[in-house]
Symmetry: C2
Subunit: 334 residues, 2 copies
Amino acid sequence: MTPRPRATYSMIAKEAGVSEATVSRVLNGDSRVDGDRAKSVLDVVERLGYRKHRAATALASGRTNLIAVVIDNDLSIFSDPFWGTVTSGISRVLMENELQTLLLVTSVSSIDGPVAHYLQAGEVDGAIFFQLHKDALVRKLAKTGLPIVIAGSPHAATDFVFVDTDNFGGGHAATKHLVNRGCKKVAIITGDIETVAGHQRLDGYHQAYRELGRVPAKALTAYGDYSYESGKREMARLLADQSDIDGVFACNDLMALGAIAAIEERGLTVPNDVAVIGFDDSVVAQTSRPGLTSVRQDIVALGEAAAELMIAQLRNEPVEPRILPTQLVIRASA
Amino acid sequence: MTPRPRATYSMIAKEAGVSEATVSRVLNGDSRVDGDRAKSVLDVVERLGYRKHRAATALASGRTNLIAVVIDNDLSIFSDPFWGTVTSGISRVLMENELQTLLLVTSVSSIDGPVAHYLQAGEVDGAIFFQLHKDALVRKLAKTGLPIVIAGSPHAATDFVFVDTDNFGGGHAATKHLVNRGCKKVAIITGDIETVAGHQRLDGYHQAYRELGRVPAKALTAYGDYSYESGKREMARLLADQSDIDGVFACNDLMALGAIAAIEERGLTVPNDVAVIGFDDSVVAQTSRPGLTSVRQDIVALGEAAAELMIAQLRNEPVEPRILPTQLVIRASA
DNA sequence: AAACCTTGTGAAATCGGTTTCACGTTCACG
DNA sequence: CGTGAACGTGAAACCGATTTCACAAGGTTT
């Protein structure tokens, strides 16, 4: 029951009758070791239930097997299930590849904060960032050669490796669906337009109009901030302005629910008077009444893709940004 | 711009004109070092922007400064914002205390899996587990002396350190509130009754009845599983059985919404015919219509408390389990 | 048959801290 | 004053792996 003392190379070497160097070679897949010796080393390793000591390995090799997942807690971390879900996907894939997930929840804003130092100090082999407004820090880190993946699109002019949902396609599909079901005047309530994701959804909306040979009136675009309240407020404003709006694409589910509330408060019904589509297909979309039609994004897959891109970078394999498809989930609201 | 080579003890020692041992003493708060020398060491440290090398420190000292957060992905990780929120609280507090959060999303079920080995191998200084059904693994780890904290109550007969929401008090307050607003026949839809949390909420319900000098009929207890569907199904069943139920406490918000759906499908209204209370005060409670009265638990605080208990253990300070209060948030549904 | 590669191997240095140990110094006390 | 305790200090061992380097053995080229 007493936990036997940790096995070390020196014990293995002695048991197997070889040198520590050979043990290291075997365990790191150096092909030059004689077959029989390799086998006997592996036997001893097996018998002793040996596992490498992380710190020792890191110190000697310079590789930590740690990947940082950096989450800016300036954002609405505390209520949004998004990041937790992505992170679980990341963690699973990393673990399958013998990498560990180091979670850094912190204010990323400062380019010179403790996180910055930490990441530069070679304490991790790579870092996965969630979408952020300021990418100065990321850019600086990239210069040091630290492998980086961004979950969510970075700002336009960079060449970071990133994974993202197809926001454009989602916005396009949502708008198209509204048009196809007969809506004549489709409005949009955007999310934070400062973020790339927010902008891309709007672009998708525009594109759908363009394909009809039309251009959406400026007045049909309302600017929300992803909150329930903003959805409600903007919808009320839209309807007060143009009572003949018969469809609305809200850039997330919460705003969609807010919009529905505003519509019903005006005595109109969903979807008969105004059809509503949200984005995310979160739990609120599934449980709201009427059920909310929404653009589903596969958040776990997003995390997994991020991890895969990180691993590819560590292996010096070529990497391409990855855009994951969305799927329109049709419920009662549109 | 070239990242200057990492500073080391030997550089600091030379610069400050002392030995490496003294540098170590200064940096680890050994009080015996002469004041002036200490100062000069600190000056050099400052000037060089020195930071300790984690792996080296871990190797030499046997302490890793890493705390594992172990999440069982057998659970409904992927949609539940709960764990992500707790984890962010944990991470913040740990970071403030110079500890890092190592995230392990994995199947904890096996007592002999890779995680088990990992945790036993001294790779982390402590582990925080989320509530789990089987605590065999945790018990085994505890025997090795690894500091452990459980987020959520462990099974009854153990003496693990844990933090939890006051499930009993929450269930009690919810039931009491229904009674106080005039409900004569209050039902409950439980969550997974196998979990301690699930059971405690039910106990709170019972206690409220007891204080009225009554015992709730067996038929008023319906067993759900925290899903929207189970809430809807059980509520329908309850009403089919006993149409005079006028209040229901659902053990989470999702089931509460399901219950509301069932109630309205029957042609009844909330809260006039049946008042409904949920648990969690999650985003769905805030955005549903009618607004859902719910028992709020402070999830971030839960994580922070977990981290604090871990830190106390690492310092060998005495630790007591911590039960965090709940708060009834009253909206339209009850 | 001399000169030159391979290939497989172990001794030893190395990574960057921590900790033990032994050696002065200084100080208090008898 | 002599003596033991307390204090500061640096040399060196140590943590557990990786990696360099030297070398022996066997195989190829001229």
